[in-house]
Symmetry: C2
Subunit: 210 residues, 2 copies
Amino acid sequence: MEEHEISKAVVKRLPRYYRYLGDLIEARVERISSNELSRMMNVTASQIRQDLNNFGGFGQQGYGYNVKYLYQEIGRILGLDKIYSMVIIGAGNLGQALANYVKFEKRGFWIKGIFDVNPRLKGMTVRGIEIRMTDELPQFIRDNQIQIAALTLPKAGAEEVVPILIENGVKAIWNFAHTDLNVPGGVVVENVHLSESLMQLSYNLNHTDL
Amino acid sequence: MEEHEISKAVVKRLPRYYRYLGDLIEARVERISSNELSRMMNVTASQIRQDLNNFGGFGQQGYGYNVKYLYQEIGRILGLDKIYSMVIIGAGNLGQALANYVKFEKRGFWIKGIFDVNPRLKGMTVRGIEIRMTDELPQFIRDNQIQIAALTLPKAGAEEVVPILIENGVKAIWNFAHTDLNVPGGVVVENVHLSESLMQLSYNLNHTDL
């Protein structure tokens, strides 16, 4: 299957397709029409056809989509057919919440280590994953060929640790710190700014007809 | 100041303006031009002028923006000039991470209670906030006029609790469960789907020239 440049908006919608298709597989559904998928997902059928046509069109007239095939192909496009080595930096509640989430491993994201600056946490484990001190980070990244780092620590610490991550080969940062990180080209950042999401909620609460 | 219908894209950018303006206030900056703000935020100055013109245009030719005034106005538009009563449902790591985040209170989001179904957590506190059992929820929501509920529990529990929340007057749901919630008109939902965000990261990791 060939791929051309895909718009950001489509990429943003892919994980949701992936989630629904995964649910369908669990429910042992083998094929589905764009109209049925449309009702389930509450988007128009033409949007679905258009989105999926970006990848060559998985559907067949009168048959619909093969659920398992579509699930696997979207997974492949999202890069979920590979294994990634990941570290979590910041062993507070949020870091531990991520470490405890087993589904990440099922999807190919292997958490290899958790790091913190607090010496009292040294040697403790979360779901069998050891908490190490941040000064061990450079060696650990190189030894374990870590590609992804999740930053679940305060802003100042996050900004300090980023150059160390990049120098040692990390290519992707999942950033929960409330700051926009400066990274060179070729390093990707995905931000999860929780307080900004809460502000959006309060905006909508005030601007929706209740 | 008058307000007209503001596009979703602008609303999504407002919290980021708010964050940068807050940093400027801390740094005791009193006014700033759109060009300076543009360099800081890494967006074009014309984008900034266009976005802020939605609210009547806060800038003055040759003077720039009054930082504190703009901060307050954007805060007001986002609904941060009010106080909200909030509950967290699910006292696992993620729920505790939210409960521990004191900045929410500074912004007007008061966490009144944390709820869980696990009886072993009953009566424990997180930052002084008591963990209660989910069966106390209806009474608690009504007594405390809870407007916002954060759902940090698994999918099935989230879907079960939503009707209870809505029946008792909750108007806004901050949803961390991996499911799209069904809510009636007039109830707003903001989703934080962490695994979808991680998939976006892996997509970008595979489609960026490294």
